[in-house]
Amino acid sequence: MRIVPFLLSFLLTTGLIVCLNRQWGSLKKTPVMGSFLSPQHGFWQNAEPVGKDFSGSVTLPGLKEKGDVYFDENLIPHVYANSETDACYIQGYLHAKFRLWQMEFQTFAAAGRLSEVLGAGKDNGYLTYDRAMRRLGMVTAAQASLVEMEKDSTTKKDCDAYTAGVNAWISQLKEGDLPLEYKLLNYRPEPWTNLKIALFVKYMAYDLAGGDNDFEMTNAKSFFSKEDFAKLYPAMQDSLDPIIPKGKHFLPPFFVPKAPATADSLYFNNPVTVTDRELKSEKSNGSNNWAISGTKTLSHAPILCNDPHLSTNLPSIWYQMQIHTPGYNAYGVSFPGAPFIIIGFNDNCAWGITNAGRDVRDYYSIKFKDDTRSEYWFNKQWKAVTMRVDTIKIKDAPAFYDTVATTVFGPVMFDPTYTGYSDVASSRSYAVRWKAADTSNELATFSRFQCIKNYDDYKQALELFKCPGQSFVFADKAGVVAIRQEGEFPAKWKGQGLFVMPGEDSSYMWQSDSIRREENPYMFADTSNRGFVSSANQQPADSTYPYYLGSDFPIYRGLIINRYLNRMNSITPADMMKMQVDNFDVFAEMARPLLLRFIDRSKLNDEATVFLNTFRQWNLMNNASEEGPVIFQYWWDQLEKNILDDDFSGSSLPLMRPHESTVLEALLKDTAWSFIDNKDTKDRKETLGEVVTDAFLKIIPQLQQDAKDDRLTWAKNKDTWARHLLRLPELSRTHLAIGGGARCINAAKQFHGPSWRMIVQLTSKTEAYGVYPGGQSGNPGSPYYDTFIDYWASGRYYPLWVMAPDEIKDKRVKWVMHFNN
């Protein structure tokens, strides 16, 4: 042996292996290059052969009986199982087979465990997020809900089967089979559990009921005069067209919550401020749905439409499928991470969902005895908190221990050790009362939806649904068309929870955890003389509704939907396709005359005049190739800055900005609105004409730059993506040529939009269409990763094929998987 060269060579080779067997980089880490590149272990194994045969047969002892899955050309499974339990088992298996990484990652996000796989992040961003989720009580809420879910024997059986199905897939995975993202981030999947299902459901509750502006409103209340506050934050917009049309007569409330005697002094007029910053879910998580009675359709059968607006992620939040058992036959989209069809239809009925957006998260100011935060002042005495220590594991770093106190109101979300996304130190503490933290079993609603036969079944299924509150549209083949806003909504006195509330006694607590179900807003299409029902996240009713509803709702999509549906007759599914991808901007329609009336054309040079003419001639459609929407958006944003910045710049605290609808309606009513004047120019009073003209002149350089950069057309300017959950551009579909926007029915924004467009005509043989911005496979190396995106962007639809038992030999069946027990 030649000892020196041997040792040298040995060390070099081992050193090379060691270097290739670890991740490099501090924040953005490289994959483990050796295994990542190895064609037998790494990413090459995720490169799925084009034309891969998905047929096969598996033997899974957890199944009660045999089942079959027929895949069509888009890899949509048509599941034939002999019981609901087996259907859930197979669904779990399929979700895992095609979407494992995403489903687990989402539950990690729900449980505040992102740091565990991503590290603490830039400026501890992931850690701050994880602490927020833990403090908010996501894990405790999921655990408590799981107990509730498992009390229902059907939910328990179904969840057990789903979990067993997921684990049957996970347990046979070899290193090379792991989804790509595990290889990129260097970790492995855990066994699936029912708790993860509960976590996923709570994550949806967070996503849809995890928004409020309590801190920003509290600061605004303390900063502005009472008159200004009323002008900036009105309870309702004049142009609102509520879900239940104006004029409906509501019965007097069953329960009348009473404002505490101290409300004026300790709450409404108490100038407290908050520096902490909350974690909030995406504000525009909204949706459209409507259903039309047969009196207004060409086929005389009802048509139901729904397009939930969520982050346009890849892999998509949705997985499309048909589930056929002896008891029911349901088609629609499911959530990888939970059993059942969530939005869809069966042989008798169809249902669709939009977010209610009611405020179910409130904060209470807590007075602790001392820095140990073990006792707080409540009802005239010191009361002990329940203390919990959360261990947050951090990748490649020591764990973080977070001590969280829990009060009668709920967990202490903010205290001197946690200021959320604010870097301002604060000595104050706030506990959070959040409806989603209550125990519940929302999945039972969807389990029942799969087999509902009529309106009564639908109504009954909804009784179990608590949070996040939703507006459920319904239509059946008997011709019933209805909408119900359902969930548990606390009965609040007017203004309760708009601001941070005093937490020194019980007087500000919610007096009733839920308005009685029969008092929730609902209506039937036929008794309304309107022939349709609809919702688009606007206020469910006007001020005659006997309970306080809050004031943070978008109004424009609802306006245009109702305008179109009122006008239309002999409606066909093709009309509905056109309507779901409609880009008309009602807000611009209302704002343009005002802008054009007040702009001083003599101040414009030739180039500015060209832009103004483009805007003037714009068809008010936010279509992909229009320049009008870009000019309008810039102009409006700049106008709001001109009008409001001077009034808001006096405070360094986070302040709520008024809604665009508030500003527009104020200007339409009062062209001398007090905020128009620039407070910083003491010697003169600006007019609306001056600020409108100045705003337009200010945006000209940006418009010219955009014209040079080819970003002047709407789609290029807003730049819609279907974005990978890890925000990696290489795994995303970028620069999609799609129009629309937040105020259009086609609510496609940059990273957010219609996540599933569905149209169901309930003729004796159901006729349905749908499309979502993604593909059935979650694997970026599969041709089925982004199948539907181009159709989605260009406003096209796929017919939804409800496969009948005698169609198993149909040529649309491309692959068959046999499941044996």
């Binding site: 042996m1 030649r2 060269p5 041997f6 060579s9 040995f10 070099l12 080779t13 090379l16 292996i17 290739l20 067997n21 290059m33 050796g34 295994s35 590149l37 190895s38 064609p39 037998q40 272990h41 790494g42 990413f43 090459w44 194994q45 995720n46 490169a47 799925e48 052969p49 084009v50 290193e175 790509l180 990696l728 290489e730 795994l731 970026p780 190396g781 599969s782 041709p783 990763y785």
Partner: protein
């Protein structure tokens, strides 16, 4: 060389990626060669093995994934560059293993 490739392939089916070095080492001990010769045997064996598998996979996948990964690794989205990098990294490890084996049991 063929033996190294075969053994590496079999190891890859069941064992971690770095066992290619072990395979090259073992063959090099059992069939003694001059060090430089051994290195190139190991290098070439794994180069062809990894490059070959990657190439076949990539052809069947029509470069759907390799284009994305190549963009991520700053290879300009080129599938072939990525296949070459893959092959080269594997080859270095294979060559190193073989070289070490050759020094353990030099040709008499």
């Amino acid at each position: 060389m063929f033996l190294i490739a075969l053994l590496s392939f079999i190891c890859g089916l069941f064992l971690p990626w770095w066992t290619i070095a072990g395979a090259a080492f073992l063959v090099s001990v059992l069939i003694p060669q001059k060090p430089l010769h051994a290195f190139f045997s190991g290098f070439l064996a794994v180069f062809l093995l990894w490059g070959g598998i990657a190439l076949v996979i990539d052809q069947m996948n029509e470069s759907i994934l390799s284009a994305k990964i190549a963009a991520m690794l700053s290879l300009g989205g080129s599938a072939y560059a990525l296949i070459l990098v893959t092959a080269f990294i594997g080859a270095l490890v294979g060559g190193g293993g073989a070289l070490t084996g050759a020094f353990l049991k030099p040709v008499r």
